[in-house]
């Protein structure tokens, strides 16, 4: 990011913020928090007549947008709908159109711990861990109750469609992975029939939550939202990769599954069973194993050169190993 480009962003951004916050505003600070080819995040401190507002600007990156993710316009729209439905999402202030040629939107900038390992392990967050399972269940129940017709841009799919898409992504990797094939074959033979199809967050887990000592502050990272079986979302934070080293705590390294599931069922009126969580936990491991392989391809193809994406290709073996153990247990 050159100084000139940063200044251009600053000038255009201020113009686009006037309709939202009025003409008497000034940018006090604008700093790129996270770059990357697909999405940028900017911390923005905006002086307004009511005081300084701490904002976050999400903007497209210069490279190819990840295929399976929402556009920034749709992500902003979804946040508006979720926020209005009482979900603890960061308050969105509006879609900004293109800022120096790339789409962007602005939301409140929330505080809280987001690093999974700290949330699972730091002593000062023990109180948060005690209340997080029920709070995660509450947020999922609220998200799953959002009327799907409010977010018509979300893609829908039943349990078999999920597996078809995963198989297609695995084929795109062009490297044989018999452990993943075994998991896909197992899942295909046991996939449930299409039942409820609801709004799913798609990536709700420890690591994508802003957590304070009081517990769950905000639900972040909405770009993988889609429509599907609610159990897919409920089982996702059980995946071992999201336990951050605290393996014996099956729910995200922070708690037990049973109270979380009971709370979700009570709030949603559904009757999701532990057995169906087992199925979707296996699918979750498939999803993240294949995700790790495709992320490494973003580096290998030159789409987004990154040591992090490169190394993650080798870590797919962790998910394969977990997958095989789950298959062994499931029989």
């Amino acid at each position: 990011m050159t100084r000139d480009r940063g200044q251009d962003v600053s000038v255009e951004l201020r113009e686009r913020l006037i309709p939202l916050f009025g003409g008497d505003i000034a940018i006090e600070r604008l700093a790129l928090l996270a770059g990357g080819a697909s999405k940028e995040a900017w911390a923005l401190d905006l002086r307004t007549p009511q005081g300084t507002r701490l904002l976050l600007v999400r903007r497209a990156g210069g490279g190819v947008i990840h295929q399976q993710t929402l556009s920034l316009e749709h992500e902003c729209r979804l946040l508006e709908v979720a926020y209005a439905a009482g979900v603890r999402a960061p308050q969105p202030y509006g879609y900004l159109g293109e800022i120096v040629g790339r789409p962007a939107f602005v939301s409140e900038r929330v505080s809280g711990e987001t690093i999974g390992r700290r949330i699972a392990q730091r002593p000062e967050l023990a109180g948060a861990r005690a209340v997080l399972p029920a709070q995660m269940a509450e947020e999922l129940a609220k998200i799953h109750a959002i009327p799907a017709d409010r977010v018509p841009f979300l893609e829908a799919g039943g349990p078999h469609d999920v597996l078809t898409r995963l198989e297609r992504e695995l084929d795109s990797v062009e490297e044989p992975h018999p452990a993943i094939e075994l998991g896909l074959a197992w899942a295909k033979s046991r996939a449930p029939d299409r039942g409820d199809v609801v709004v799913l967050h798609g990536d709700l887990r420890v690591g994508n939550l802003a957590v304070t000592e009081a517990g769950l502050g905000h639900v972040l990272d909405w770009e993988f939202a889609h429509l599907g079986d609610p159990t897919e979302d409920v089982a996702w934070p059980l995946v071992r990769a999201w336990r951050f080293g605290v393996d014996q705590m099956r729910l995200g390294g922070i708690g037990e599954v049973e109270p979380y599931l009971e709370r979700y069922n009570a709030l949603s009126g559904r009757h999701i069973s532990l057995a169906s969580l087992d199925y979707w936990e296996i699918v979750g491991n498939l999803k993240w194993a294949i995700g790790a392989l495709t992320q490494a391809r973003r580096h290998l193809s030159g789409q987004q050169r990154s040591v992090e994406l490169a190394v993650i290709g080798r870590l797919a073996a962790e998910m394969e190993f977990e997958l095989l153990h789950l298959l062994e247990r499931a029989g």
Binding site: A34, E175, P176, H177, P178, A179, E181, L182, L184, A185, D247, V307, E308, A310, V311, R314, L315, A317, E318, E320, F321, L324, H325, L327, E328
Partner: protein, 128 residues
């Protein structure tokens, strides 16, 4: 013949530089994270140089037994890697066709454990 340091010694030297000189002087959390990832990547490289060849030989032998192949096991490392890839492709095709050989799960548990001996040995310990 290249002079010393050997490939594994060079990877080790770069990893130690990141761990002892870069990380202690880096405050930016994003840069710190990527430096840790880079050091981890070099650790993978060091382990692959040390044990990669015997592990791929073991994998080819196991795949040939599983798939009932009577070919001889090649000596050349590139040839071994090609064979491992071909046999894994054959195994993948059979699993997808619903024709997984008897013993596939046990074979894969051993083979993926061998991948982790290079990629992430500490993760493997979490299953003991």
């Amino acid at each position: 013949m290249q002079d010393r340091p050997r490939a594994d010694e060079l990877a080790e030297a770069v990893r130690e530089f990141i761990e002892t000189e870069v990380l202690p002087t880096t405050d930016d959390p994003r840069l710190r994270f990527r430096a840790l990832v880079a050091a981890n990547g070099l650790g993978i490289l060091e382990r692959e140089i040390a044990v990669g060849a015997p592990l791929v030989r073991r994998e080819v032998g196991a795949l040939m037994r599983l798939l009932g192949s009577a070919d001889s096991v090649p000596d050349d490392l590139d040839e071994l890697r090609r064979r491992a890839s071909d046999l894994n492709r054959e195994l993948s095709r059979r699993i997808r066709a619903g024709d997984a050989p008897e013993g596939t799960l046990v074979h894969l548990l051993a083979t993926v454990a061998d991948k982790l001996r290079v990629a992430s040995p500490r993760y493997l310990e979490r299953y003991r």
